[in-house]
């Protein structure tokens, strides 16, 4: 991360034209200057310049940003407002401003993966106590408000058996003609599952492995931990840094040619944030992280790149599919055509939605910090989906999937939500 001085200098390029407000999902819903990029920038800039006397409203406003990045891509002067907000959050954490529920989740749960797993395993057995099933979507609605989670929302059921606990995933050979890697042997792909896949949506993991094997790769799933992005977005850089290091070591030891993930957020973390978090730790570490990052591919990128997906049976008998662009894929990794290209090879008929790259509202911790706001943002997405009349909404991020399922459920839109790889 760039230093405060450099960030202030960049913020100085803002001429207050207000163009960013037109693309900001939270401004769109809240309609208050402080809930949009221009206001947030003004607040953080003033605070970094030493202006004092900011209180709870300051923290609330910087926590309400989804970090979707639209303001940055739309800024005529290229000001990176999300980065400024991340820096402000990190400062808030250092000063002890992070709320109790969040520090419990990020510090306690994520930091100790053993504790996290034990806690969630217990929760998986007890979930009936807190959550009631719905006939409508696959998922559970919380019966009452949980500390980090909030009441009334549709949560995906915790998996009976977590993905990374499954014994059959450890080392898998290709099920089709093998593709060669650079070193001459069979292309060896390391799969980074991420918490969304591990705890909530293991089917995505299964589908990813299946498609990788069918495309001719050898797959390994090294022992791994959370990518750290939830902690990072909340400003908890210490936790995020420790997790990054553990993952780096795990994948280095696995001797893979390529690392892939089916989570857009993890992908951004592995490609860019790890380097940022570990870059101050000496030259040797820097070159290790760089090498690691250069091996990372989003699954849709890999299947349209080094490991081309050939497409299965022909015919468009799967119904209509539309696609939602995850912020972390489109704006942070520049990947938007690849998933669409894959979908066009599936048995589904593709139909684009209005504003496909508008944020679903979950990101940047907003889904936790302010569930109502997050759902308000998601409503627009639900109506875009409704307008397409699609049977399935595809996307490429488990986080977005959780949010879309909830939003579609709340708005009564009867489309199924799936990851692109699940449709191949």
């Amino acid at each position: 991360m760039r230093g405060i001085k450099e960030l202030i200098e960049e913020a100085g390029r803002c001429v207050r034209c207000g163009a960013c407000k037109s693309v900001c999902p939270t401004y769109d819903v809240l309609r208050r200057e402080q809930s949009g990029p221009r206001g947030r920038l003004s607040l953080v800039e003033a605070s970094f310049k030493g202006e004092s006397g900011f209180g709870g409203a300051y923290l609330k406003n910087i926590k309400e940003c989804t970090l979707c990045g639209s303001c940055h891509s739309n800024c005529p002067n290229g000001v990176n407002i999300p980065e400024l907000i991340l820096a402000a959050r990190a400062e808030g954490v250092e000063k002890g401003g992070l709320s109790l529920a969040e520090s419990f989740a990020y510090r306690g749960l994520l930091h100790s993966e053993r504790f996290m797993q034990a806690a969630l395993r217990l929760a998986s057995r007890l979930q009936g106590l807190f959550l009631k099933g719905t006939a409508f979507e696959n998922g559970l609605v919380s019966r009452f408000s949980l500390p980090v989670i909030g009441g009334g929302r549709l949560l995906p059921e915790l998996a009976d058996e977590f993905f990374l606990d499954r014994s059959h995933i450890e080392e898998l050979s290709p099920s089709a003609t093998p593709v060669r890697g650079k070193k001459g042997g069979v292309l060896r792909v390391g799969f980074f599952a991420g918490c969304g896949v591990n705890y909530l949506l293991p089917d995505i993991g299964e589908a990813t492995i299946r498609v990788l094997k069918e495309s001719g790769a050898e797959v390994v799933v090294p022992q791994q931990v959370c990518c750290g992005m939830p902690a990072y977005s909340a400003g908890d850089r210490r936790t995020a840094r420790d997790l990054a290091l553990k993952n780096l070591e795990a994948f280095e030891a696995s001797g893979v040619d390529i690392i892939t993930t089916s989570c857009a957020t993890c992908g951004h973390g592995l490609k860019k944030v790890f380097a940022e978090l570990l870059s101050d730790e000496g030259l040797q570490m820097r070159s290790r992280v760089e090498r690691f990052a250069s091996m990372v591919r989003d699954i849709t990128e890999l299947l349209t790149g080094e490991l081309p997906y050939k497409g299965g049976e022909k015919g468009k008998k799967g119904g209509v599919v539309t696609y939602h662009d995850p912020c972390h894929l489109r704006r942070y990794q520049g990947i938007s055509e690849e998933p669409r290209r894959l979908l066009s090879k599936s048995v589904f008929t593709f139909k684009g939605m209005k504003h496909p790259c508008r944020c679903c509202g979950l990101g940047g911790g907003v889904g936790f910090a302010n569930y109502e706001l997050s759902m308000e943002i998601a409503k627009e997405k639900a109506s875009s989906v409704r307008a397409t009349g699609a049977d399935v909404v595809a996307t490429a991020c488990p986080g977005c999937m959780v949010q879309l399922k909830d939003a579609l459920y709340q708005s009564g839109v009867k489309a199924r939500v799936a990851h692109v790889v699940e449709l191949l």
Partner: protein, 468 residues
């Protein structure tokens, strides 16, 4: 400073969540696109005209200023609390109440984003032409208060030409309706609608607008024409108008501006040219084809280097993104932009352009020019650094020269951005003392206590801006 009792009363009027006196909100409502900082004493988000009326009555008894604010994208400081007081944000009033396809009218609240109204009208096959470059993020209320114009003014006129009537809360709290709601004509009494349009939030608060719409033109073509000199480009504009072709847009962009937005240029190689015209024609399909052919011929006679017609929506969008990025991008040249929007009769466009080039070299400052050449309205940006006193002074001198030049060419010193605080000290260059007195008389009659947006339009001393 606002008394604690006044704060409580304000909060009582609009409800707790809709009034703010916290440091964070005050900071966020202290600026607009002039990028200067005047923290207000409070911010209030009224839910309708009755609440606004009660706030204004309170302001009259308590004696605090009230400053209407739309999106805060104004270029002349109209929405700044230069004398302190309460910002009256109209962001909550964002309803498009009706689009009447039988009468071609719209009934909207002032906080509606102009681009949203346009999109909604288009969906119904209708068209709201006024298109300030800020249309994706400025409000109808702000557009009315500034009489905003845009590239399409050459053919379709400005905001004023589409306002049939208004609902206005007067500075003393009365709620009145002016003009008509759905008829194209109406001459009963004084034309208060026209008085309100362009009054910069100093004569009343617009709470509803009744607007005129047009049928959406069937076809459109967008062209980008490159020239080796700004004079050639300006000459081509004059020639097109002379030939009685009326494009819906002719925008001129000079080399300084081109350099700032090159990265948006997915089209053509802009690097080697000195000036660009962005021309758009609309109407019937056969008509636009004919217009494109005629403009192509005129342009080549006038020395155009390349002539390029956008194929399809995406290319049109690219061109407009490039155009809309110019104004904010200019800060790449110099941090401070003295941003003027002078207008001359179109036959004097070349005179204005060459005159400005002379002023730039005489005063030793960089001047970036672009804008609505088709209607003679050029955005002249004198680029300086406000921390460099000598340069700042040369810039201010250049501005004065530009205004003198404009007036000598039969023009006006502001076409669409308004006067606000930025140009208040210059209005005497264009208006006679008597005319200014008539205006002051109107202000006094409608706002005897001077509580609505004080410190704007008329030259007056007020506090210095804060810098964060």
């Amino acid at each position: 400073m606002l008394k604690a009792t006044a704060r409580d009363e304000i909060t009582g009027i609009v409800g707790k969540g809709n009034a703010s006196f916290g440091k964070e909100e005050l900071l966020c409502y202290s600026y607009d696109a002039t990028n200067s900082l005047y923290p207000p004493d409070g911010v209030v988000f009224p839910g309708g005209p009755e609440e606004i009326s009660r706030i204004l009555r309170l302001a009259n008894t308590e004696g605090f200023p009230v400053i209407p604010r739309g999106a805060g994208t104004g270029f002349t400081g109209g929405a700044l609390a230069v004398e302190g007081g309460v910002i009256l944000s109209l962001e909550r009033l964002k309803g498009i109440r009706e689009i009447d396809t039988a009468n071609l009218t719209a009934d909207v609240e002032p906080g509606v984003i102009t681009g949203d109204l346009q999109a909604e009208a288009e969906r119904l096959g209708l068209f709201y032409p006024p298109d300030p470059t800020s249309l994706k993020f400025s409000t109808i209320g702000g557009n009315i208060a500034e009489c905003a114009g845009g590239p399409r003014a050459i053919k379709y006129g400005v905001t004023r030409d589409y306002v049939l009537g208004l609902e206005v809360v007067m500075p003393t709290g009365e709620i009145i309706t002016t003009g008509t709601k759905k008829t194209m004509k109406g001459v009963v009494g004084y034309d208060l609608t026209r008085l309100m349009v362009g009054s910069e939030g100093t004569l009343g608060v617009v709470t509803r607008a009744f607007l005129r719409l047009l049928p959406l033109p069937e076809a459109k073509r967008t062209m980008l024409v490159e020239f080796l000199s700004l004079e050639d480009a300006a000459g081509a504009v004059e020639a097109v108008i002379n030939a009685k072709v009326v494009p819906s847009t002719i925008e001129i962009i000079d080399d300084v501006c081109i350099r700032c937005v090159e990265k948006y240029a997915k089209v053509g190689g802009l690097a080697s040219v000195e000036a660009v015209l962005l021309i758009e024609v609309d109407g019937k399909e056969t008509g636009v084809q004919d217009d494109v052919a005629r403009i192509r011929r005129i342009a080549s006679e006038r020395g155009a280097k390349t002539f390029w017609v956008a194929s399809g929506r995406d290319e049109e969008k690219d061109i407009w993104n490039l155009r809309r990025a110019i104004s904010p991008s200019l800060s790449k040249v110099k941090p401070t932009k003295l941003n003027e929007d002078v207008v001359v009769p179109r036959s004097n466009l070349v005179g204005l352009i060459t005159g400005i080039e002379d002023i730039a070299s005489k005063k030793g400052v960089v001047i970036a020019s672009f804008g609505h050449a088709g209607d003679g309205n050029i955005h002249v940006n004198v680029m300086v650094d406000k921390n460099n006193a000598a340069e700042m002074q040369r810039g201010m001198d250049a501005v004065k020269d530009i205004f003198e030049l404009t007036i000598s060419l039969g023009g006006t010193i502001s076409g669409e951005h308004g006067i606000g605080i930025a140009k208040a000290s210059y209005i005497g260059m264009e208006l006679s003392a008597e005319a200014i007195e008539v205006m002051r008389g109107i202000k006094k009659a409608l706002d005897p206590n001077g509580i609505l947006n004080p410190g704007k339009i008329f030259p007056k001393a007020f506090r210095q801006p804060q810098h964060a």
